[in-house]
Symmetry: C2
Subunit: 183 residues, 2 copies
Amino acid sequence: MRLRDFGLRNGINEVIVITKGEKLNTAPIGIIVENEDSIFAKAKLFPSHTRSNVEKGSFFVANVVNDAVLFALATFEDLNEDYFESLDPPILRNSLAFCEFEAKIRGPIVHLRLSKGKVLRSEIRAVNRGFNAVIEALIFATRLKLNPKFAEKIRDCYEIIEKCGGEKEKTAMEIIKKKTGIL
Amino acid sequence: MRLRDFGLRNGINEVIVITKGEKLNTAPIGIIVENEDSIFAKAKLFPSHTRSNVEKGSFFVANVVNDAVLFALATFEDLNEDYFESLDPPILRNSLAFCEFEAKIRGPIVHLRLSKGKVLRSEIRAVNRGFNAVIEALIFATRLKLNPKFAEKIRDCYEIIEKCGGEKEKTAMEIIKKKTGIL
């Protein structure tokens, strides 16, 4: 068993992490992998529900997802149970794979040790710049308070989504517009 | 048989297209899909080796690829036979799928009709912003003559590749640096 078996490769892997506090929490997280042939990874965890759930002993389950709408929704709110195809282990609908990790927090970093994983679907998809632009727009959206100039970057992403995206990407763009107010 | 079976989905699909003139030509092309459940697609084809090969009756084979280095190399030069795992049909090493199309040129558009396709590998990979930034940098690199300001955009991509990419993405970045002179 190694990280790459479940789609986690060297570099930063943008996934949706599910933890549990009073209710299920879903958050996009970048999992940092230095050796994809190992079971060890890490992530930066700033103060957040994800972090406080882990501090209180929650499981830490990463879902490998290629659905632009799920990424958009998880960025702004917790996905409710309707978005899950399984609750134990927690698996979002259409997830490609899930990985369960033992998680230990040290300072701003959570150290991760893969304990279980499964490939659920092995759907292939050609590169879509619209999908990629959704991910970039979401990054800028979460940093908008730090730098209002990111509004312009988000609009650049909209142009690419309009031109290259499919239905999911365009729905994700509408979510971003609604949540950020950047039209 | 439908486009989505081979990873081509609604929107613009960035793939590597192989045609044959005096020798094999490899070029990144955006295949436009309006109905992924059909066998029909199209692409813009400006004057290029790809276009003149099709005009002379070449086959038109799309490879669905998720390898940053292949995208970078194919943007700047033709990939030689060492990069192929099969020559008939033409399949680049590590391609996820290939699709053969009947191609008819009308004005700037090539109209495509899927005649054959096969999924070769069903490798999953979590979203990597470094990979996505390689694709964006390549788009800007090909348009650099139109607008020298794209140099700055390419440098923005380098930052993301450095931070988020794996080895393949960093190798692709070195190729972009060498070919464009943008450091």
